[in-house]
Symmetry: D2
């Protein structure tokens, strides 16, 4: 019997990507989809790419916790907690693509999101999970906090170096660039085509909300509290994140490269590139891969890690399904093992 | 037992797309790949998107006819005939993505390609096949001429109108626009990024080599000799063809729309959009769909058909596999039923 | 003494382009700029490209007619008529980039814009002017209707053929493609970056509001009533329009080409390309040029005209200034003789 | 009498931009242009944007030193030295857009360019000049080394901080992104449209040849030897460089911002943005501006400088003309005071 899946917020970009992936997932079936903005319409009216493929109507989220085994929430922050409370009543598993359950310390949430928890008791049954790093902690939790896009690219890019102590934990600089889908489907001047095309700029330098999430996970990896400098940029492409990560090397590049290869040797979705190659967002598009390349400025003793993912796939919907697979005892790769196209 | 597939010209864009699709095809296995330019290298060295997915070495095409059940040729014109001769000896089926076997009349080939057939006797065992239009003629042919990208979008866009006599067969104008992958992987000034980006122009107006192929298929559909005016344009996107087709209506739009819906009602890969919607290349990207929208200028009695495909998928590799499926007795949709992404 | 220029609607794209061009015009000075949306702000706050260049505050349009010699209106249709009435009182010349004064027959305006004239008496003192075609009619008119972007590219592309009777006047098909700035600065889902990028589609096929304007001007050129079929498409670039125009030739291509060269031989802003070349939007970007290339499908007797302009420049602000120059007795090229960049 | 200008390497992108700018420069005239690849052709045949504007034939560089007052060299490294020797004989001033005269220490040139000087005696009469930083040293030199594109964006971005001691001089990380014109007109797989579009990657991490030039100029600014980490990335746009520069603050952001504003208060081409704004390549396109925005991660004490230029203009041809103006006693802004377009 297939896993009955509900998707709340199905008409945002991450929601629409989830719909697409669940529709071809061999062990899951799409049971319900909801949207506040388009309730009553068929999803194929909002997304004509789904014409003839999925004509399911968009409902409200009301009964989803009752009728589904797994509920994905692709919502603005603050809206997943009440949904989690609904799921808690029915036993449905909530996989949250938003920020509500990502931070361990409510103080961080209050500081960065200007908001307190509305259901604090739920947080103890939540797990934050990048499968490659945290799968051993996945047990019977009812709430899975799916990581942010930037944090995924960064954590995978630094995990071997930090866990093995190959770099200094201070002074790390992370310069990330994200495709425009990362800004969502909502209209803004900054994502209006003529303003975005042939443009490039940083935004939220040093103050992006993914910062505490990045530091939380890196601190766990390093085994001590860490702070980093994180600056995102808006990249005029649809999909893809590249994070260039700068840190002080404690050993040489060949050793570090060997350690990365070893760390990820059994991972189906992480590819450590040969030395001399560069990770490129184009090579992971439409897939769950994270490609990592390693470079050194020997003169200054700096390790440069370039980590790329598809922000909508490994950075959102694909990883959420990877988490579902893991939680439900399926092979992690089921339904998300697409090969990135060459062009 | 899986179909053993060989791909000749595997490092061109169409070849690389075939590799990607065959790798996940449930009834086929990739047996051999060849490339003149990169012989001896692993394909993942040429296409890093395939790292960890396919590390197969590129060979010459020498033994492919012997070791494969089906050989796909993604080659410049003139190179498929000798390969077909090889296949004829071994019984392998050749599916040719090039132009060698598309034209029924050698005189047309000579005129448009400045070349004569080198193996004229092979042509009698070849079938030109857009499955939606020609599948009933598919028997035990050993050579399948896979249609060109422009002709596919145009033939599907006009087939109902011509077969049912809903439009005049003279004076048809076809204004097509193709993404840059249609120009191939070879380097040219006209496809150098700074020259192509933020640019748009027609090319080969009235003299493109797809013209005789288009006219051949339309003539068959109409049951009489037809000539059309065809002008392609280079569109600064990677994938996608849109053909705007202008013809004189012999009845009203609602009737025509109903006829199109009826004509394609059982087709898994053709979507006739509701009146008022516009076919958009983005809604068929990375898929085998052809979307068709119909419009009328009532004042001038003109029917406007907008037909869109992904030139690399339905326009090349996807349709080639659809033809393989058909020829081998599989369901046509096997291995190519990807859902186009929303973004 | 410089011409005192006011710009109403200065924060739309056409308005902003006017601001830029007037700021470097040697015979004009920017006297006032207005914007309903941003009244009270400095224009450099809305358009940071103007930082340090122009810090002028945006006002309401109230006193512009009093304080300016020439007022440009870059407004949605329906808003220029009352402004023209203001200008009529003060003697200021109104150059309208909108549609209010373009159509000669109010019935056409009512039919295509669902609106009647509010100041019908003003229309007799208005001139519609593409300088290359209508400059001899420019006298002391107080209102200049600046042509639409599509009509400009099309009229210049067909003028020699129609005035000299080189093509049939029936059955003309015009397939145009416009960069996204043509859709304006206002936010829509269809111009949201991820929805527009890597996308292409027709819109308003056969029903675009520029149709009556196109037919009006072509009818004058041909000396008889004409109807054409016009279909615009949205092109994922910022600037540029390409119109591919299909008509039946009454003579051969060489004769037509010679006639075009002769017709435009003294025009500073029209370039008829050598036979064999293709007009490309990239070669006219950021300039007032219209490039025209001519092609023939000899088999079907079809002339294909490809006409390209920069929709923001020759298609809007540049031509408006060309009209100002003409009206004010300046050389037409003053202030708008920029050379298009190679890349 | 106008300055007679020659351009060697006129058909590369920087050369073509020089041609465009010199053609409208009020105090200069284009006397000769040369190109090895296209000798004998008219430049408008290579760059149709120049049709009707400039039909000058491309010659060899032979007599340019004799017939011109100023010769611009836009050549691969190693080719400007012999040209400088020619100019030395005639007294022509050479402005070199290449690397031959940028480095003070031949050992650096040998190390990074694998080449020795062929005319070492010429280097003593050369000046490296970013006008905003070095104009006081411009005297009667016969050779002007025009700075590289990346170094220009970086030096202007760091000059106030380094000269005033506002940041630490160690541990600086520079993450730059350049539009594709920076890679030149030559064809490569990495700049083929389908491979570049929707792609993003770092290249030459820690080993780019601009590194010693960057360090040379920063060391002078800081008054002590400095090393930095520099990683460029290829950005899928035509024009523009953004450099995100990370350094340790020695004082607070407001003080630093005030110092930047003061440092550049009289500079016509540098704009220090208000705190809270972000420098965007789109706001300097087609202009000689450098926009600089300042940001702080207060938690880690990191200053983030975002510095943007148009790599073809301030990063190449525009700055070269600024240097010509300075050297010839003209106002620095003459002929290069274009206003960047809003879109």
């Amino acid at each position: 019997m297939k896993i009955r899946v509900g998707i709340v917020g199905a008409t945002g970009y991450a929601g629409a990507e989830l719909v697409r992936l669940i529709l071809t997932h061999p062990a899951a079936e799409l049971a319900a989809i909801s949207s506040v903005s388009f309730e009553g319409k068929k999803i194929s009216e909002v997304y004509p790419n789904l014409a003839k493929v999925c004509e399911m109507p968009l409902t409200d989220a009301g009964k989803m916790a009752e009728t589904c085994d797994v509920v994905f929430a692709a919502l603005p922050h603050g809206l997943s907690e009440p949904l989690a409370a609904e799921c808690a009543k029915t036993g449905a598993i909530l996989i949250d693509l938003g920020a509500d359950f990502r931070l361990e310390d409510e103080a961080d949430y209050q500081k960065w999101y200007q908001k307190s928890y509305t259901c604090p008791e739920l947080h103890k049954d939540a797990i934050y999970c990048i499968p490659e790093l945290h799968r051993s902690a996945m047990k019977e939790q009812k709430i899975i906090a799916n990581p942010g896009c930037y944090p995924t690219s960064i954590a995978l890019g630094l995990a071997p170096a930090l866990t093995k102590g190959l770099v200094e934990t201070t002074g790390i600089v992370i310069d990330s660039k994200s495709g425009v889908t990362g800004a969502g489907r909502g209209l803004t001047q900054g994502t209006h085509y003529p303003d975005t095309n042939e443009a490039f700029a940083a935004y939220k330098a040093g103050v992006h909300r993914h910062t505490p999430e990045i530091e939380q996970i890196l601190s766990h990896l390093a085994g001590k509290a860490m702070q980093i400098t994180f600056v995102p940029h808006l990249l005029p492409i649809n999909r893809g994140i590249e994070s260039s990560i700068y840190c002080k090397m404690k050993t040489d590049l060949a050793v570090i490269h060997a350690a990365y290869c070893d760390f990820y040797k059994d991972e189906p979705f992480v590819r450590v590139l040969p030395l001399g190659s560069y990770a490129n967002v184009k090579n992971v598009r439409m897939s769950n891969y994270c490609d990592i390349s390693l470079h050194a400025d020997e003169r200054t003793g700096t390790l440069i890690v370039s980590s790329v993912i598809d922000n909508m796939f490994k950075g959102a919907a694909g990883q959420a399904i990877q988490n579902m697979n893991l939680r439900m005892g399926l092979a992690e790769t089921v339904g998300i093992d697409m090969i990135p196209p060459a062009i």
